[in-house]
C-alpha cells in the first residue's frame, strides 16, 4: 500500500522530496509514511478527501509541525525546520488553509508581516507605512474585484477578500516554493481566474508551486504533476498530461489500485 | 524621643495663615480606612472640632500600606485654603514632599500618632508645630512586660504581625521582643496581613507546630480577636495567653470576657482630639509644646470595665497641655 515516487519522476529536478514522513496526533494517524517529490519550476497538485492529511503535510513542510519520522529534502539539503521562520528563510512561502491572518491588524500590516519595510533613522529602524500601504494597494488590486481598503482591519473583510490577502502575501515575496492550501476555495469566478493567472505567472518566473485543491477541473488545468492522498497515505502520483480526471477520482476514492 | 519637631514658631505661622478670629480651618490626613483604630482617631478629631466650632476635613489612605496614595491626598489638600494640617503618616518619610510644601507656605503642621522621620524633616525643611502620640515600640514593650507578668516562668511565644514589612507592625513587634523577659523564646513570627481570618488560620497552625506554646503577641486587636478565637477553638483558652495592641471596643469586651489577656490601648481618640486642640492653640497664637505623650494604658481584666465605660476616651486622667492653651 505504501506509495513510493513514481518510476517516471526522476529525482534530479526535485526541489522538494518527502521520504516516509509520518505524524500522529494522539491516536489519529494523520500522515503514514508519505513519500512524494516536487519538481523545480512546476506546478504540483496534491489532492485527497477531507481529513486525508494534506494540510498536515503542508504544515510539516512549512515548519509548523515536525514529522515524527521520515525525512524532507528541500533544494538538495535535508531540512529540519524548528519554526515557520526557518521555512520562510529557506524560501518556502505558504498560504495556509486557515489563512493565518491576524484579524486585528490591517490589510497592509498583514501583507508585510515579518517583511516590513523600514527606514533607518540612525540607530532606529522605523516602519515606512506609506510605502507599505501603497505597495499593498497594488498587490491587492491585482487579485480582488471588490478591493478592500488596505487600512481596514482584516476582521472586516469578506471570506474571499481575506483569501485574496493571504494569497497576495505569499505571492508577493520572492521564494523558491509557494504552497497554497485550497487558495480558491472561497473565491468567486473572476477572482479564481486571477489567482490561476497568478499561479501560471509564478511558474513562468521560475517559482515552484504546490497547490492543494478539491477542484479537479482546476487541478487538471493548472498542474504538471498530481499526487493523491488517502487516509494519511500518499497513494500515488501521475503526470497530469498522462492521466485523466476519472483516474484521479478513482485514486482519491480508492476505487483504483496504484 | 523620636518625633522631635523640627522647629517651633507656631505663633508666626498662625498669624501668617491669617485666620479670622483665630479660628483654624483644619485638614487631617490619617492612615487607615477599614480599621477601628483610625475611626476612633477620626471620631476624636470630629468631636473636638464640633466642640470648638472649627471646620475640619478628614481624609484617609486607602489602606495601611498605601504610602503614595496618602501622599497624593495630602498634596491634594495642601493646595487648598487650610490653616492647619493634622497628619498621621504611614511611614516616616512618605508625606515629606507635601509637608515641605506646607512648611514653605507657613502652614501649621501637627504630627500625630506615627512620627515624621526627623532627619528627613530636617533636610526637607519641614517644620512641625508639635508631635502628639505614643511610640509603637513603647506599646510593644508594654505588651512584653505584661506577658512577663502573666507568665513569670516564661516559655515559648509566637508573634502574629500585620503585612510583612509594615512599619507599624514592625515597631510593635520590636518593642514586644525588647519587653519580654529573658525566659521567653519567640519561636515564630507570622505575617497575617492585618486580617482576622488569616490570623485565626495562622494561630491554629502555629499552635499545632508548637504544642508547648504559652502565648501570642498580636500586632493589632482585630487579628488578636482572631487568635483568641483560634485558641478557643482548640480548647486552650487560659492556657495560651494573647496580648494585642490598639484598645478597640471589641477587644476591651474580649478582655473583660477573658478571651483576650490584655490589650495595649493607645487611645487614638485622645490623639485625634489633641491634634485639633493643637491647631486651635496655634491659631490662637500660643506656643505649642514640641512633644506631647498621648495616654496609653495596659488594659487587663481588672480595668476592662472602667475602660469600656469610657471608651473611646481614656478612663484615667491624662496630661493634655493644649487644654490650658485654648481656654
Amino acid at each position: 500500500m505504501t506509495a513510493r515516487p513514481e518510476p517516471g519522476t526522476s529525482t534530479d529536478g526535485a526541489l522538494l522530496r518527502c521520504e516516509n514522513v509520518s505524524l500522529s496526533f494522539g491516536n489519529v494517524r494523520a500522515l503514514v509514511e508519505v513519500s512524494l517529490t516536487l519538481r523545480r519550476g512546476e506546478i504540483t497538485a496534491l489532492v485527497g478527501d477531507n481529513g486525508a492529511g494534506k494540510s498536515t503535510l503542508v504544515r510539516c513542510v512549512s515548519g509548523i509541525h515536525r514529522p515524527q519520522s521520515g525525512r524532507i529534502v528541500f533544494d538538495g539539503d535535508e531540512i529540519d525546520f524548528h519554526s515557520p521562520e526557518d521555512a520562510r528563510e529557506a524560501g518556502i512561502e505558504t498560504v495556509h488553509q486557515t489563512l493565518a491572518l491576524v484579524e486585528d491588524l490591517t490589510v497592509w500590516q498583514n501583507l508585510f508581516l515579518n517583511r516590513e519595510i523600514v527606514r533607518r533613522l540612525g540607530p532606529v529602524a522605523l516602519l515606512d507605512r506609506r510605502a507599505m500601504q501603497a505597495r499593498s494597494k497594488e498587490m491587492v488590486s491585482t487579485l480582488a474585484v471588490n478591493v478592500p481598503a488596505v487600512r481596514s482591519r482584516v476582521r472586516r473583510l469578506s471570506g474571499g477578500q481575506r483569501q485574496a490577502v493571504a494569497i497576495c502575501r505569499a505571492a508577493g515575496f520572492s521564494s523558491k516554493l509557494v504552497i497554497m492550501d485550497e487558495p480558491t476555495a472561497a473565491l468567486g469566478v473572476q477572482e479564481t481566474a486571477r489567482v490561476e493567472e497568478l499561479i501560471f505567472r509564478m511558474r513562468e518566473e521560475g517559482h515552484s508551486v504546490l497547490l492543494i485543491s478539491h477542484n479537479f477541473v482546476q487541478v487538471m488545468r493548472l498542474s504538471d504533476q498530481v499526487w493523491v492522498m488517502r487516509a494519511g497515505r500518499c497513494v500515488g502520483g501521475r503526470r497530469t498530461a498522462e492521466t485523466s480526471g476519472e483516474e484521479i477520482v478513482a485514486l482519491v476514492t480508492g476505487a483504483a489500485g496504484q | 524621643a523620636s518625633g522631635e519637631p523640627a522647629g517651633p514658631g507656631a505663633r508666626v505661622e498662625a498669624a501668617a495663615a491669617g485666620s479670622p478670629a483665630g479660628q483654624p480651618r483644619i485638614a487631617a490626613v490619617i492612615k487607615g480606612l477599614d480599621n477601628p483604630f483610625f475611626q476612633a482617631m477620626k471620631q476624636g478629631i470630629d468631636d473636638q472640632a464640633r466642640a470648638g466650632g472649627v471646620t475640619v476635613t478628614v481624609q484617609a489612605a486607602n489602606s495601611i500600606t498605601d504610602t503614595t496614595g496618602q501622599a497624593d491626598k495630602l498634596n491634594g489638600l495642601a493646595g487648598q485654603d487650610f490653616s492647619c494640617y493634622v497628619v498621621n503618616p504611614i511611614s516616616g518619610t512618605n508625606l515629606i514632599q507635601g509637608l515641605a510644601r506646607l512648611s514653605m507656605l507657613n502652614k501649621t503642621v501637627v504630627n500625630i500618632d506615627s512620627p515624621v522621620d526627623p532627619a528627613a524633616a530636617k533636610s526637607a525643611n519641614v517644620k512641625l508645630a508639635t508631635y502628639i502620640g505614643t511610640d509603637n515600640v513603647e506599646a510593644g514593650k508594654m505588651a512584653g512586660r505584661r506577658m512577663t507578668e502573666l507568665l513569670p516562668s516564661g516559655g515559648e511565644v509566637a508573634v502574629i504581625g500585620g503585612i510583612a514589612g509594615d512599619v507599624t507592625s514592625g515597631a510593635r513587634v520590636q518593642g514586644f521582643q525588647q519587653g519580654i523577659g529573658p525566659n521567653f523564646k519567640v519561636v515564630q513570627t507570622v505575617a497575617a496581613n492585618w486580617e482576622r481570618q488569616m490570623a485565626l488560620t495562622a494561630a491554629t497552625d502555629v499552635m499545632r507546630a508548637n504544642p508547648n506554646l504559652v502565648g501570642f503577641f498580636v500586632a493589632n486587636d482585630d487579628m488578636g480577636l482572631g487568635v483568641a478565637r483560634a485558641i478557643a477553638n482548640s480548647g486552650k483558652t487560659g492556657k495560651v495567653k494573647v496580648i494585642s495592641v490598639d484598645g478597640n471596643k471589641d477587644a476591651l469586651e474580649a478582655v473583660k470576657a477573658g478571651t483576650l489577656d490584655g490589650t495595649v490601648s493607645q487611645y487614638p481618640y485622645a490623639i485625634g482630639h489633641m491634634g485639633v486642640e493643637a491647631c486651635q492653640a496655634a491659631a490662637a497664637g500660643k506656643t505649642l509644646p514640641p512633644n506631647v505623650k498621648a495616654p496609653v494604658e495596659m488594659i487587663t481584666k481588672d480595668n476592662a470595665d472602667q475602660a469600656l465605660a469610657s471608651t473611646p476616651k481614656p478612663f484615667g486622667a491624662y496630661d493634655d497641655p493644649f487644654k490650658a492653651l485654648i481656654q
Binding site: 520562510r88 500590516q109 | 504610602t67 498634596n75 516616616g92
Partner: protein, 324 residues
C-alpha cells in the same frame, strides 16, 4: 498618484471617523477625564489651580510608567501581576545599595536592573515554559515581594538625597520632573508600538499567536521582550517612588497593580491582546489620579470614596461600550 489617492483616503477616513461612535469609544478615557475635570472644577475651583494640577501630574507619573509597561504586556494578551512588587523589589535594591554607599547613579542602575531581571524571569518562564501569564506573574508577585522583604530585612531605609529630592519636587513649570520622565517614556513607547517592526510583531503575537508563528515571528522572543520592558519600567517607577516617599520600603504597593491594569483597560486596550494604544492608558492613569484627587478636594468622606471611585470607573468604562 498613489500618494494623492492615499491622502484623499486619509481625509475621508478622518471625517468618517469623527462621525463614528467607535471612534469616540477609543477615546473614552479622554472623554471621561474631560467630564471629570469639568465636574470637579465646577464644584471646587482649586481643582484646576496650577498647584493642584502640578501635584496631580506628579502623582500620576509612577502610575503612567507602570501602565505603559502593562500595556506592552496586555497587548500580547498577557498580564503582569508582578508589576507592583517588582517595583517594590527595585526600590529595596536601590535603597540597600544607596545605604551601602554605592552612590546615586549606581544604585539607580541596580534598582532598575533588579526589576528588569524579574521581568526577564517572567518572560522566560512564560515563553519557554509555556505557562499562563497570570499564574507565572502571580508567582513572581509573591516571590519578588518575598525577596524585597529578605533583602531589606523587613525594614524601610530612609533615603535623603538632594538630587532625588529635586527630582520629586522640581520640574519645568507645572510639569514636575517625574511627570516629564513619564511623558518621555510614553512617547518612546508609542513610537515602539506603532512605528517599529517590534511593535507590529507584538500586536500580531497578541492578536493571533498561531498566525504570527506561521509568519515566522518568534512569539517567544516577543513575550520575553515585553516582560523585560515591563520589569524595566517598574524599576524606573521604583526610583520615582523612592524619590517621592523618601524611603525604600519593602511593603507591597498593592494599589499600583490593579490601578495599572485599570488604567490600561480604561484606555481602551483589550485584555485579549492584539490591539493597543499608549495614549489611552496614559489618559486612563490621569483619570484615576484626577478622580482620587478631586474626591479628596471635595472632602468626600473616606467611606464614600471607594463607592464613588467604583461608580466613576464603571461609568467611564460605559463610554468604551461602543468600541470594537
Amino acid at each position: 498618484m498613489a500618494n494623492a489617492t492615499l491622502a484623499a483616503g486619509d481625509r475621508e477616513a478622518w471625517s468618517a471617523r469623527l462621525k463614528d461612535l467607535g471612534f469616540w469609544a477609543e477615546w473614552a478615557a479622554l472623554v471621561g477625564l474631560v467630564v471629570l475635570v469639568i465636574v470637579f472644577q465646577a464644584l471646587n475651583p482649586t481643582f484646576l489651580s496650577a498647584g493642584n494640577i502640578a501635584s496631580m501630574l506628579v502623582a500620576a507619573a509612577i502610575l503612567i510608567i507602570l501602565a505603559v509597561g502593562q500595556t506592552f504586556v496586555i497587548a500580547t494578551a498577557g498580564i503582569d501581576l508582578s508589576i507592583a512588587s517588582t517595583m517594590t523589589l527595585g526600590a529595596v535594591a536601590f535603597g540597600q545599595a544607596y545605604a551601602a554607599g554605592w552612590g546615586l547613579a549606581l544604585s539607580c542602575l541596580l534598582g532598575i536592573v533588579a526589576s528588569a531581571l524579574v521581568g526577564v524571569a517572567n518572560g522566560v518562564i512564560i515563553a519557554r515554559g509555556k505557562i499562563t501569564d497570570f499564574i507565572v506573574t502571580l508567582g513572581t508577585l509573591s516571590a519578588a515581594s518575598g525577596l524585597a522583604l529578605i533583602l531589606a530585612d523587613g525594614k524601610p531605609v530612609t533615603i535623603i538625597d538632594p538630587v532625588l529630592l529635586s527630582l520629586s519636587t522640581g520640574g519645568l513649570g507645572i510639569f514636575g520632573w517625574s511627570f516629564v520622565i513619564a511623558v518621555v517614556v510614553a512617547l518612546v513607547a508609542h513610537v515602539m508600538l506603532f512605528h517599529t517592526r517590534f511593535g507590529t510583531h507584538l500586536l500580531a503575537t497578541g492578536g493571533a499567536p498561531e498566525s504570527a508563528t506561521a509568519m515566522g515571528i518568534s512569539t517567544e522572543r516577543i513575550k520575553i521582550a515585553v516582560y523585560t520592558i515591563s520589569g524595566t519600567l517598574a524599576g524606573l517607577g521604583a526610583i520615582l517612588l523612592v524619590a517621592r516617599i523618601g524611603a525604600a520600603e519593602p511593603a507591597a504597593n498593592t494599589s499600583f497593580l490593579l490601578n495599572s491594569v485599570a488604567a490600561v483597560v480604561l484606555g481602551g486596550v483589550s485584555l485579549f491582546g492584539g490591539r493597543g494604544t499608549i495614549i489611552g492608558p496614559f489618559i486612563g492613569a490621569m483619570l484615576l489620579v484626577a478622580l482620587v484627587n478631586g474626591l479628596t478636594l471635595l472632602g468626600v468622606s473616606q467611606f464614600y470614596q471607594p463607592l464613588a471611585v467604583g461608580i466613576v470607573v464603571v461609568l467611564a468604562a460605559l463610554l468604551t461600550r461602543f468600541q470594537r
